[in-house]
C-alpha cells in the first residue's frame, strides 16, 4: 500500500525555519538525508520532493474562457505543503511508525521539531473511492 507523508506549515512556521542557526539547519538536513537513505535501503521509498516557499505559491482558477486567473493571497491560517515522501509499505502502522521518525527530526536548538506529519493513503484506482 502506498502512503504519502506530508509536512505542512503556516507562513509563520516557514519564517521561524528561516531563523534557525546554520548548525541547526545542517543537523536537520543531515537527518533528512539519512532518513531518505534508510527508506531506500529498506525498499519502501517511492518518491520525495521539497517545495518552494509559500511566497511563490499561487492559486489558479479558470476564467470564463478557460484562461488562468492567478491569486497569491492566502489566509494566515493557510497550511502550505513544505515537502512530502511517498512510501510503499505493508500496513498503515508501518506508515505511522515512519511518520513518527520524521516528526522526531531535529529542530532548532537540537530539540525535536515534533512536527505533525499528515499521513494519507494514495489511490491505486478510483474504485478506492467507493463511488
Amino acid at each position: 500500500m502506498k502512503y504519502i507523508l506530508m509536512m505542512n506549515g503556516k507562513r509563520s512556521d516557514f519564517e521561524g525555519y528561516a531563523r534557525w542557526s546554520k548548525e541547526d539547519l545542517q543537523t536537520n538536513v543531515a537527518f533528512m538525508r539519512e532518513f531518505s537513505k534508510e527508506l531506500k535501503d529498506s525498499g519502501v521509498f517511492v518518491a520525495s520532493e521539497g517545495l518552494g516557499w509559500p511566497n511563490e505559491a499561487r492559486l489558479v482558477r479558470a476564467g470564463s474562457k478557460g484562461e488562468p486567473i492567478t491569486d497569491g493571497v492566502f489566509p494566515e491560517s493557510k497550511e502550505f505543503l513544505a515537502g512530502y515522501w511517498i512510501i510503499d509499505v505493508e500496513s498503515s502502522q508501518q506508515a505511522y511508525a515512519i511518520a513518527a521518525r520524521l516528526s522526531g527530526a531535529p529542530g532548532a536548538g537540537g530539540t525535536t521539531g515534533n512536527m505533525p506529519v499528515e499521513v494519507r493513503r494514495v489511490l491505486s484506482s478510483h474504485c478506492d473511492l467507493g463511488l
Binding site: L59, E67, P68, A100, V122, L123
Partner: protein, 130 residues
C-alpha cells in the same frame, strides 16, 4: 522547471462530490484524462496521483521514545489534498495555464468546477541546502 499542481478541498467539498451524478463524474474524469494525455504528448507530464478520502487521514507525531501518536481529528476548515499533478514546464505561466485547464474541468451539469488549484514550484536543494 518542475511544478506541482495541488487540488485540495474541505470534508464538505468531498461530500458534495459524492452527490454528483455518475455521468458528471465520468465526464470530469474523462476531461482530466485528456489533459494528462496532452501533457504526456508535450513531454511536460511527470506524475499524477489521487489520494484516498479525508476520513482515512491521520496526523502523526513522534513521542519521546519515537513511537507514533496518531490523531484523526481535524478542524472543519482543514483542506485535504485530493490529488496532484507534477509537470515539467518551460515557464511559470505555462504551469498556471495548465492549472487553469484543470480548474475548468466540468462538474455537475457540465459547468466548470472552477476549483482553485495551488501551483507550487519544487525546491532545488542542490542550491539551497548548503
Amino acid at each position: 522547471m518542475k511544478y506541482i499542481l495541488l487540488m485540495s478541498s474541505t470534508k464538505e467539498g468531498v461530500s458534495r462530490y459524492h452527490t454528483w451524478a455518475q455521468s458528471d463524474r465520468d465526464t470530469h474524469m474523462q476531461t482530466l484524462g485528456a489533459i494528462m494525455k496532452e501533457l504526456v504528448e508535450t513531454g511536460e507530464f511527470v506524475a499524477t496521483q489521487g489520494l484516498t478520502e479525508p476520513n482515512e487521514a491521520k496526523v502523526v507525531r513522534g513521542e519521546k521514545n519515537g513511537l507514533p501518536v496518531t490523531d484523526g481529528i481535524f478542524p472543519e476548515s482543514k483542506e485535504f489534498l485530493l490529488g496532484y499533478w507534477i509537470i515539467d514546464v518551460a515557464a511559470p505561466d505555462r504551469a498556471c495555464q495548465i492549472a487553469g485547464r484543470i480548474s475548468a474541468a466540468p462538474g455537475p451539469g457540465g459547468t466548470a468546477t472552477n476549483m482553485p488549484i495551488e501551483v507550487r514550484r519544487f525546491a532545488d536543494f542542490r542550491n539551497t541546502a548548503n
